[in-house]
């Protein structure tokens, strides 16, 4: 069994810090892009830029934190349900920072919808409309309650690091 610490497994977190939060309404977060991010070597060789899907991931994570905070960490699983009109307008290179701005259109018990954009150095990089779904594994399988609790506990710790 592989024993991991929080620091060891920070490989799929696409925001670095939450810079503002209006509970249940809007959130802003930043992500710094560094050559230390391994995938940049492949994307692209000679022209490293943050992959478009990871820009979308930054928007999704920002929205997820808005929901988790607003619902007081009621659910363990927050997943992208749909996204539309996700447009990529420019590139973000190592050394630059992206600022994500996400506004909630609706936040209900199990679903939420958002519009969001990312900007870097005053230039718009990405914009999207998207919706999340939120649930607990125990909704379908009561034996998963302990797993839900574990995920939620981890998310609360991560929240303390990010906010």
């Amino acid at each position: 069994m592989r024993i991991t610490t929080m620091a060891e497994t920070m490989r799929f977190i696409l925001i670095d810090k939450i810079i503002s939060l209006e509970s249940g309404k809007a959130i802003k977060a930043i992500k710094s892009v560094s050559l230390a991010e391994e995938y940049l070597a492949d994307h692209f060789p000679t022209f490293p830029v943050l992959p478009g899907v990871l820009l979308l991931e930054g928007l999704i994570e920002s929205a997820s934190w808005l929901v988790r905070e607003a619902e007081n960490f009621a659910h363990s699983m927050l997943l992208l349900e749909e996204a539309r009109n996700v447009k990529y307008k420019s590139f973000v290179a190592p050394g630059a920072q992206v600022e994500y701005t996400v506004e909630a259109k609706t936040v209900e018990d199990n679903i939420s919808s958002f519009t969001g954009f990312g900007e870097s150095d005053g230039e718009r990089i990405v914009e999207a409309r998207f919706g999340l779904r939120h649930f607990n594994l125990s909704d379908e399988d009561s034996t998963m309650a302990a797993t839900d609790a574990k995920i939620i506990e981890n998310m609360k710790k991560r929240w303390e690091l990010l906010r």
Binding site: R84, N85, K87, K89, R129
Partner: protein, 131 residues
Amino acid sequence: MAMNRDEIFQEVQEVLIDALGVDNNEVTTEATLMGDLGAESIDFLDIVFRLEKAFGIKIPREELFPAESLMNNPELVNNGKLTETGLAELREKLPHTDLAAFENDPDINKLGDLFTVGAIVNYVDIKLNAA
């Protein structure tokens, strides 16, 4: 395919709602694609592809949205405005658009205003009836 203007408008409206993520009350005949509906380069291509599928026609992109090549041609633009030659080219390329207002002040930055929902409906109407 015989379609009247209303039917064409409905279909064009749906295409623009899907491609641009706007609401149907924003897609009026006078609405400009760039200014009012927020369309950009990649959206123009998305719109052309969708119109081709929706109406079963082939749309050379230059035919529907010729602005870019005109704007970048130094022979047709002088001091940010289209020259007479430029205007003549534009009239030839956009038979489906009313250019009167633009001709009064042929500022290339205003070329975008020519691309209205109505202009698209006109274009499709002409294409379908020419077939």
